[in-house]
């Protein structure tokens, strides 16, 4: 394999050198338990505090509003289950969207079994929630609205400040899963009226297994993980110090110069989209403009996604088909079905998510190898045979 192109940055990213450098001393050197009183424990404690400040600064939050977790999934579970339980007396209605990440959807499904009612807002063909739909869905017993900031598959960015504004008018809590948005969209929780926000370090060159939940000061939700007094008594367990340090450094870097970085990545994305759309019966999924700078998601009629990925891998290109988190499942992506794709087309989707490390040479290479792979798979596809016959 002569070339290697990583184009799956929405699945995960490499830990960057400055982040790794920041983390390394906390494995074997400053290995103290942050709860300990002696010097190496205090060093660890200070390091966690610094990461908390870095995270708060990146979000426009206060340090005491940041709670470290084991990742985006835990943060989503905690926020949603916590808000539901805390407001049980007020009501049992929650509003979300049909195309949330499974960390949100499966938590909601579990709550439905326990007696909560959930309204899932439509996202239409462009993959964007409509504020008017939210306004209409809010009821007196609605206790929580949770809408993702940017979709992980098709990269569409939701009108979060507007949605949060509607919630506040009506006195309803607003949570957003911002796992895909951090480092790509300028976020200020205060200005945007966000009450709770989930994030995950490995999506922005931090380590896997570390995330955070922002909880607005004054808001109280029950703990998901009980035990020691870590995270001011709200999230038990010895802190993943190295991971937290990595998260802090990574978010600091990711939230600096978002615009400049995005401009660069958008050029690559748009070149890639333009080229892919030249291939017969290939369509772009999700709004063309309201999308993350690096996200390309196309459906290729007549072929199935996994074989496409395997062939791309043989050419050194890392890509994905639907969400990496659910590749254990064989159902077509719920996101693609949500924007109206027929099942068979949803099966043939390809997600290429670019980052600042990618170059125009990468894009050119992908555009070079992809058409022949598609041709080859189509030539052996009985589905394509039918499409061609009908055309």
């Amino acid at each position: 394999m002569s070339r290697f192109i990583y184009a799956d940055n929405a699945a995960t990213t490499a830990v960057s050198q400055p982040v790794l450098d920041a983390m390394l001393p906390y494995f074997a050197e400053h290995y103290g338990n942050p709860s300990s009183i002696y010097s190496i424990g205090r060093d660890a404690h200070t390091a966690v505090d610094t990461a908390r400040e870095q995270t708060a600064a990146a979000l426009g939050a206060l340090p005491e509003e940041i709670y470290f977790t084991s990742g985006g999934s835990e943060a989503d579970n905690w926020a949603i289950r916590g808000a539901a339980l805390a407001n049980r007396k007020k009501g049992r209605h929650i509003i979300s969207s049909v195309f949330e990440h499974h960390a949100v959807l499966h938590t909601l499904k579990a709550l439905e079994k326990e007696g909560w009612e959930v309204t899932y807002l439509k996202v239409y063909e462009n993959g964007i929630v409509r504020p008017d739909d939210l306004r209409a869905a809010i009821r007196p017993d609605t206790v929580l609205v949770t809408i993702m900031y940017a979709n992980n598959e098709i990269g569409t960015i939701q009108p979060i400040p507007e949605l949060a504004g509607i919630c506040h008018e009506k006195g309803v809590l607003f949570h957003t899963d911002a796992v895909q948005a951090i480092g790509h969209v300028a976020i200020n929780v205060k200005e945007q009226g966000i009450d709770m926000l989930s994030l995950s370090a490995h999506k922005f060159h931090g380590p896997k297994g570390t995330g955070a939940l922002y909880i607005k000061k004054g808001l109280r939700i029950p703990n998901l993980i009980e035990g020691g007094a870590q995270e001011r008594g709200h999230r038990a367990g010895t802190e993943n110090v190295a991971g937290i340090v990595g998260l802090g450094r990574a978010i600091e870097i990711a939230c600096k110069d978002i615009t400049a970085r995005d401009e660069k990545v958008k050029l690559l994305r748009d070149a890639l989209i333009d080229n892919l759309l030249k291939i017969k019966r290939v369509r772009l999924n999700g709004d063309r403009l309201q999308r993350l700078a690096g996200n390309v998601n196309v459906s290729v009629e007549g072929i199935e996604g996994e074989s496409l990925l395997l062939m791309l891998d043989m050419k050194g290109v890392c890509a994905s088909s639907g969400s990496a988190c659910t590749s254990g499942s064989l159902d077509p992506s719920h996101v693609l079905l949500a924007i109206g794709l027929p099942h068979e087309v949803a099966h043939g989707s390809l997600r290429l998510t670019l980052g600042e490390e990618n170059t125009m040479a990468d894009v050119n290479y992908i555009c070079e190898v992809l058409p022949s792979i598609i041709d080859r798979l189509r030539s052996m596809s009985p589905v394509w045979e039918k499409i061609e016959a009908q055309a």
Partner: protein, 146 residues
């Protein structure tokens, strides 16, 4: 999810891909909603030997590989032998399949049976007593919950 070398070999160099225009039996199983369709073409001589076999598949790596190995396993064999092909034999011939992909081996077995059923039907023989009933979404039922 990890594929064996054998699976990857059959995926990247599938054997017997294509169509047989004057086939004696053609079968198609699976459905695009589920993400897998296999179409199998058989050329069977008067002695009941499968002289040629080709396939076309829409599906994942395992779907392609199971189709490919199934054609190898029945090519040159008698109809009776082909009817004995099981999905286990397909899995074994590929040095195993990830659990989430076992349904592909079922589909490959069904594709062969479906083509043989067509062969009998063309001869005016009711295939069901010989080939058995081919359930439409038998394979789909194996899909694990994600």
């Amino acid at each position: 999810m990890l594929y064996s070398q054998k699976v990857m070999d059959h995926f990247s160099n599938p054997r017997n891909v294509g169509e047989i225009t004057d086939a004696d039996g053609v079968g198609e199983v699976g459905n695009p909603r589920c993400g897998d369709i296999m179409k199998m073409y058989l050329k069977i001589n008067d002695a009941g030997i499968i002289e040629d076999v080709k396939f076309k598949t829409f599906g994942c790596g395992a779907a392609v590989a199971t189709s490919s190995i199934a054609t190898e396993l029945i090519k040159g064999k008698s109809i009776d032998d082909a009817l004995k092909l099981t999905n286990q034999a397909v899995v074994e011939a590929l040095d195993g399949l990830p659990p989430v992909k076992l349904h592909c081996s079922v589909l490959a077995e069904q594709a062969v049976k479906s083509a043989l059923a067509d062969y009998y039907r063309r001869k005016g023989i009711d295939p069901e007593p010989i080939v058995g009933k081919i359930e439409d979404c038998e394979a789909c039922a194996l899909h694990p919950q994600g």
